[in-house]
Symmetry: C2
């Protein structure tokens, strides 16, 4: 009986309660442990990919460890980050539903597979379009391209490359003569001026560069020319805006945290559309708003260049070790918004979309340059008419087959056809991703460090893209 009494005693009750509490706490801890470990063992489906939390690498490294950037990445977070979602095109004309805005249905229509290009009508509402134009006007627009007369003439005479070497590089078919198209593919000659076959003939005559008048330059004729002869000639003769590669004005609108609500909304919608990691989209270039007046155009070009072993990206070059001779903007994706309806012209042309083959030289045939959006838009494989609120979305790079950014997609060549009547307003969102996954991760860590250190986010973004924006 005394035992039974003792079981009901106060001290026994205390012991049991401690047991019960320890038990409950243990079970809860176990539940949390198993939940979180099993979660990280199964990577979330593509599209929900998240960077490791900034805190992981942002703080000062523990004593005895190398600094965060130099430290090898844990394979765990690398795996999570190294697969990018890429939409399926299926076939030209294929329609797929997308969920971008609550209680509204949008359709993605495949316009081409090379490049992988989609059209989404009513991506922006009329009000959103008008507000973006308004914000751009408030910020003020600048000429997209500086006139050659305002540019300092480059001194490349001192370059360590001989005339013979230059001639050989230009002479694609190695027949010892420069055909007109061999000269035309090298836009550098024009110093920002769009070189046409007529220009070439005019320059040859003006410079007496082709005395036999056969339209071809021999090595001897080429050697007689000053390295900057073309540029110098054009500066002296004077250049019209319509003779430039692009004839437009533009500005940049910051879209990061604290930006105008409408710009935030557009960014979030782009994240839903592309299903790319939000951290990457948030740290991509600001929104570019472009205005083409009547007569405006942009000859066909690639939004981002090819990738070689030595190529680095503008946005990650700060975190990459050393500088490289080749740089490009690494714009994996372009999202182009039409902000108004254009009275005449202003189509977006994809001259070689879904062509069987891509050959740079065959873009120019019989004095006809397919890239010329003032003359030859009607010959483009694909022409998209601007319609207010419609978005175009394409990939400037192929997949590397492992879920990351691969080679440049040369078929993404596109341009803005001449505006024959009225004004054309568009906006561009680019998503910048380094084809080197390690460099992209380093960039994300570096930029999240800026943000954590309470530097204004705008400053960080603007700083990184500064060079790029000046160049463009």
């Amino acid at each position: 009986m005394s035992q039974k009494d003792s079981v009901c005693s106060r001290s026994y009750f205390m012991v049991v309660m401690v047991f019960v509490h320890v038990y409950i706490l243990n079970v809860m801890a176990l539940l949390f442990y198993v939940y979180y470990t099993s979660d990280s063992a199964h990577p979330p489906p593509a599209g929900d990919i998240a960077l490791p939390p900034p805190a992981q690498s942002a703080g000062p490294p523990p004593p005895g460890q190398p600094p965060a950037q130099a430290r090898a990445q844990p394979t765990h977070s690398l795996q999570q980050f190294s697969r990018l979602h890429r939409l399926e095109g299926i076939k030209v004309g294929h329609m797929q539903k997308v969920d971008l805005v609550p209680n509204k249905v949008h359709y993605l229509k495949t316009l081409s597979l090379k490049p992988l290009l989609f059209e989404i009508t009513n991506f922006l509402s009329e009000e959103e379009c008008k507000l973006v134009i308004h914000l751009a006007k408030l910020k003020g627009l600048q000429e997209s391209q500086i006139m050659p007369s305002d540019l300092q003439q480059e001194v490349i005479d001192e370059m360590d490359i001989s005339k013979e070497e230059i001639f050989n590089l230009l002479d694609y078919n190695q027949d010892g003569q420069l055909q007109m198209k061999e000269v035309l593919t090298h836009t550098r000659f024009g110093d920002g001026v769009w070189i046409t076959p007529e220009n070439i003939r005019e320059i040859y005559t003006g410079l007496k560069a082709d005395p036999d008048g056969n339209g071809l330059l021999s090595l001897e004729e080429f050697k007689e020319l000053n390295t900057n002869a073309f540029q110098t000639y054009l500066r002296q003769r004077g250049v019209q805006k319509t003779e430039l590669v692009r004839n437009s004005k533009h500005t940049w609108l910051y879209q990061g945290e604290g930006a105008h609500q409408i710009l935030r909304t557009i960014r979030h919608r782009v994240i839903r559309l592309t299903q790319l990691p939000p951290e990457i989209v948030e740290h991509s270039e600001p929104l570019q708003v472009v205005k083409y007046d009547q007569g405006g155009h942009y000859h066909a070009h690639h939004d981002s260049g090819p990738i070689y072993a030595e190529t680095s990206c503008f946005h990650t070059k700060l975190v990459a070790n050393g500088s490289t001779p080749l740089e490009t903007s690494c714009r994996y994706v372009t999202v182009l918004f039409y902000l108004n309806n254009v009275s005449g012209g202003g189509e977006t042309a994809f001259p070689v979309a879904d062509n069987r083959t891509y050959d740079e030289l065959s873009l120019i045939q019989n004095n006809m340059d397919l890239r010329d959006t003032r003359l030859n838009c009607d010959r483009a494989n694909l022409l998209v008419k601007p319609v207010q609120g419609t978005a175009l979305f394409w990939y400037n790079y192929l997949s590397d087959g492992e879920g990351w950014v691969g080679e440049q997609d040369e078929y993404s060549l596109h341009g803005g056809c001449v505006v024959t009547q009225g004004t054309k307003w568009i906006a561009n969102n680019w998503i910048n991703i380094d084809p080197d996954v390690q460099r992209q991760i380093q960039f994300q860590q570096a930029i999240s460090k800026y943000t954590n250190e309470e530097a204004p986010a705008e400053w960080a973004v603007d700083n990184i893209y500064q060079d790029l924006h000046v160049e463009l």
Copy 2:
């Protein structure tokens, strides 16, 4: 003191031990619970897709439940089964490593994106090729196509369709006249004979069908013709083998359980190559071995037809409810093996691979039929030369965008060019998948039931593909 004693007492010890055991058991149960629930919440990555174990649906249903086939599928197993792996082509010329045979490296080379087509050199060894040819010879080969004279003439005069209606269906461009190419695209006219522009002219003359001799048939001229006029004319005039759609011999080699080791090995290698569910590949058609003698050919065709709402697949029609007017073989994938080196000709031609557009009528232009592999192989967009051991692998259907089989890929049009010297041996593996995922699942369950009931597996497969094999 008496309280302290009671804590050390025997009964107190018992209570504590019960607590401890209950605690341990609870924790273990919880661990198992959390582990298994979190596992099924994350579906396995594509490529590891497995069918629900046959036992799940094979046994007799528990009393009171409807039979297995009629029962609704649990969404769980459906999800596992409803995403098919599809390889990435990236771009023409892209190479990717594949792991097919231990200690050996194979490369997949992308030959075209439309259709999605790959080449794998040394997929089979020389010995494997020779053995397959040997096994085919042992089994014996039959003519791939029956001569029209041996066919019973179809009676379609009784069909409930008027001459006007037929004329209207044939008159693609609705200009009230039948151009030669409007007649040529309808191979049915030939009764297995390949109709060329020369044939048409010959038939028109023989039948006095085109009295005005302009090469066009008006409705009036068309009405004068008997429905089977073309077939009847060709039967009477007599037909050479080289005038048929295909001129080859073939046989079928069973590849299922119990088959020759080399055939099993090839099947397993095809599963690794395509990364499609093994259960689907195992229940696809047997291996077709084809022999083209000198002069042999196969004009360009699709291995499997288009899918309409009413179309059913040969392999699943037994499990589908009711019969449908349209049927096709639903060969999602073709794997073609070259078993020998051919002395002359015998290339595989893809006339429209990676064309910008596909237009059936534009295959025939100016009396030139791109599908004709006796005359126009040199005009094909892609020609593959037979090399012993090399495999070609392509998809005859697009993706539906949700991981299942979608529309027919019209660009998969291909044919065997005429063998100008020697003999050509090839083999074909087709992977049959119903574009209706539910029907494919029902088929898999039905066939696994056969297997479980100890009926010989060969019987089940042969039974299902019987019609198909006779037709081919």
